[in-house]
């Protein structure tokens, strides 16, 4: 049963690739959505008894993949609480995104190719989270990278999309290389790549803070940073918006960028053994969430706002992982998957309604024209900006904000970053909502309402974005810990410095207050536009800051200068291929020898005889000389 979950999407991708044009659009939709839907159903069928039984894991060994010496890697799948949370989100949200895509991509010429890639994407991600050994995990990891490349560059006729796809692939590859080295080192020191064995033996092999384990943990973190688009490898994600909107939803919500969070959570024992690396995780998360939040504040493209908000929210997850609040990170992943998929698909509905216009300043006033999209988008936005009590984002994010300060590894700086991030989040989210749905219509397009296939997933996700939060409530509000106590089978519970309900209330009230302040500022900034604020934003420093944030803190330019241009210059210099000169020289010398020797084939018999005679004379003289000496 377990093997069917990743096998079904793979199988349907294979059928779609091989079947190609033989299928009608209806058949393609049925195969693509059906396979993910059945996988989601199997997840429920398998997951509910599994949760009730209280077992720690289900393991399935399919076959041995490779064997060399004392190394062997199998196609082994393991379902435990952590992977079940991921599998559930991937299949369930993935299914909704597939259904939505049948509406969104209905007019696209490459319908089959799109769904083949989407299925492959989901299958690779499922393999990643279900893998029992790191080799299989790495296989899924690379599969996800490949599919992201295929889908970001889906509309390949525009060279810019191809560039974005290559950028995503190459930037994540930097992290992948670090991760591969980490795997080699893990095998060298532990002699196995089975995840449970590594986690069990790591504390016996290494003491806390051992240089090797710190190095391994940092290399793993490098891999996670690349896939999850965290500082300093975050530059690929905003450009990944070149792909169709459902792809963005899939990358941001269910697959790909959360792989890094999964990896760190899965290898949590190693990070606990390497406190320096774990601090690195927290610092990267805290810095990233602030930088990306600032960048999201000034974007004009609706999808880029969402892209930066994803980077920022993954930053929250990394922060939670870094302070040892493992289950809080996974909880935020789940709620984030719901509301970010909702927001992306809502944005997609708006984009379709506006005839593929993505600039928010050319939208406006859509509240009246697209009421259903507006309300679902508003629910997603409320959840993203963590409006208290009614949204899932509030419960998951507040947990992180509180634990960033109160856990043993927590720090006041983390808390300040998290709470400032919450303020930024509320501001950029509602700036986007107000720009898109309020104000006067900026164009005279007649927005057409999307069909049911696009709207029903939005309704379902809107419900999830609201309800998913109630499985985990803080101490101050009911104290429900369904999710975290369930995850404790796999991930250790967070250790608190002190439990203070009063302080937690303070933190929550402050966060809520800042959220509402952020929304108010967004309202006055975008809708009311008072003179003072307009003048303020026209100041030279603010314009400079705006440009800096708009370009994502100029990371792209920096990398261009540091890596891309020198590389291109070297490539130019080496256009004639220096190394190749050696090999050309060998052929040149051979040809020259050939020419010289062929001259001796004069065809004149007497010269040949002369040669024979001279040879005989030389041989004889040598012989005689040797005998006489």
């Amino acid at each position: 049963m377990l093997s069917l979950i990743p096998a079904l999407p793979f199988f349907s991708a294979l059928v779609l690739i091989l079947g190609g044009r033989a299928f009608s659009r209806g058949a393609v939709s049925a195969i693509a959505c059906g396979s993910i839907g059945i996988a989601a159903a199997i997840t429920l069928l398998l997951g509910i008894p599994f949760v009730q039984s209280g077992e720690s894991s289900i393991v399935q060994h399919l076959w041995t993949w490779m064997q060399a010496g004392n190394f062997s890697a199998g196609i082994d799948l393991r379902l435990d609480a952590l992977s079940l949370a991921f599998v559930f989100v991937i299949t369930f949200v993935g299914f909704l995104i597939h259904v939505y895509s049948t509406g969104y991509m209905a007019d696209d010429a490459d319908y089959t190719r799109f769904f083949a890639c989407m299925n492959l994407f989901v299958g690779a991600m499922l393999l990643l989270v279900l893998a029992d050994n790191l080799v299989l995990l790495y296989f899924g990891w690379e599969g996800v990278g490949l599919c992201s490349y295929l889908l970001i560059g889906f509309w390949y006729k525009d060279p810019a999309n191809g560039y974005a796809a290559r950028k995503a692939f190459i930037v994540t590859r930097v992290g992948d290389t670090a991760m591969a080295i980490a795997l080699f080192m893990l095998f060298q020191h532990t002699g196995t790549l089975q995840i449970p064995q590594i986690l069990a033996h790591a504390p016996e092999i290494w003491t806390t803070g051992n240089a090797i384990i710190v190095l391994i943990a940092f290399l793993l973190l490098g891999g996670a940073v690349g896939k999850s688009a965290q500082l300093p490898l975050q530059t690929w994600l905003p450009d990944a918006m070149a792909g169709p909107t459902p792809v963005s939803a899939l990358i941001h919500a269910a697959t790909m960028v959360t792989a890094g969070v999964y990896l760190v959570a899965r290898m949590h024992v190693l990070f606990t053994l390497a406190p320096a690396a774990q601090t690195g995780v927290a610092v990267i998360g805290a810095v990233t969430l602030l930088l990306a939040g600032c960048s999201a504040l000034v974007q004009t493209d609706i999808k880029r706002v969402l892209a930066y908000s994803t980077i920022s929210q993954i930053g929250y997850m990394f922060l939670a992982l870094g302070v040892g609040a493992w289950s809080a990170a996974i909880f935020h992943f789940v709620t984030h998957a719901f509301f970010k998929a909702l927001l992306f698909m809502g944005a997609g509905a708006v984009i379709v309604a506006m005839h593929h216009e993505q600039d928010m300043f050319k939208m406006g006033g859509l509240r009246k024209q697209l009421p259903a999209v507006f309300w679902t988008f508003l629910i997603g936005a409320a959840s993203l900006s963590a409006i208290p009590f009614v949204t899932s984002g509030f419960y998951s994010k507040d947990q992180i904000v509180w634990l960033a300060w109160s856990s043993v590894q927590g720090h006041t700086f983390y808390w300040i970053a998290a709470i400032a991030g919450a303020f930024l989040t509320a501001m950029y989210t509602f700036r986007m909502v107000f720009l898109t749905f309020y104000g006067a219509p900026a164009t005279h397009h007649t927005a057409h309402t999307p069909g049911n296939r696009m709207m029903i997933p939005l309704y379902i996700l809107a419900a999830c974005s609201t309800l998913a939060g109630f499985v985990e409530l803080p101490h101050t509000l009911g104290h429900v810990t369904l999710f975290s106590s369930w995850l404790q089978q796999v991930l250790p519970a967070v250790q608190l410095q002190q439990e203070s309900v009063a302080l937690e209330w303070t933190s929550q009230l402050l966060a809520a207050g800042l959220t509402f302040t952020g929304i108010y500022i967004a309202w006055t900034w975008v809708v009311q536009k008072p003179d003072g604020m307009v003048r303020f934003s026209q100041m030279p420093f603010m314009r400079w800051l705006r440009r800096l944030w708009f370009s994502g803190w100029a990371f792209d330019g920096f990398y261009n200068m540091l890596v891309v241009r020198p590389f291109v210059r070297t490539a130019r210099m080496n256009r004639r291929d220096m190394i190749d000169r050696i090999y050309t020289a060998v052929t040149r010398i051979t040809e020259w020898c050939h020419d010289v020797l062929s001259r001796t084939q004069s065809g004149i018999l007497r010269w040949y005889i002369m040669g024979v005679v001279l040879g005989a004379v030389v041989i004889l003289s040598v012989l005689i000389w040797r005998v006489s000496v």
Partner: protein, 102 residues
């Protein structure tokens, strides 16, 4: 002046061989080249005979018989080749037969 017969015979054989060799190198007519080869062969045969008389062994004589037989065969093949070449080139100049030069 007393020269040992073996030395004299061997010197004669050597002179004959070098004469044959030189004429082979300077002649372009193929008939003459064939003749030079014959001279060289006979020089070698003479050397065998001188050596056999020196050691009082019959092997050298036997070897000379072989050389005679081989020379007969070689001349027949050589003449046939020369005939063919003459048909093709209308000349006996060995330098003309250089169609396979590099």
């Amino acid at each position: 002046m007393n020269i040992h017969p073996t030395t004299a015979g061997m010197t004669l054989a050597g002179i004959l061989f070098v004469l044959g060799l030189i004429s082979m190198l300077i002649r372009r007519n193929m008939i003459f080249m064939l003749l030079s080869v014959e001279i060289m062969l006979n020089a070698a045969g003479l050397a065998f005979i001188v050596a056999s008389s020196h050691w009082s062994q019959p092997d050298g004589q036997v070897m000379f018989m072989f050389i005679l037989a081989m020379a007969a065969a070689e001349v027949s093949v050589g003449l046939a080749l020369i005939l063919q070449l003459y048909h093709q080139l209308k000349s006996l100049d060995s330098d003309e037969a250089s169609r396979m030069r590099g």
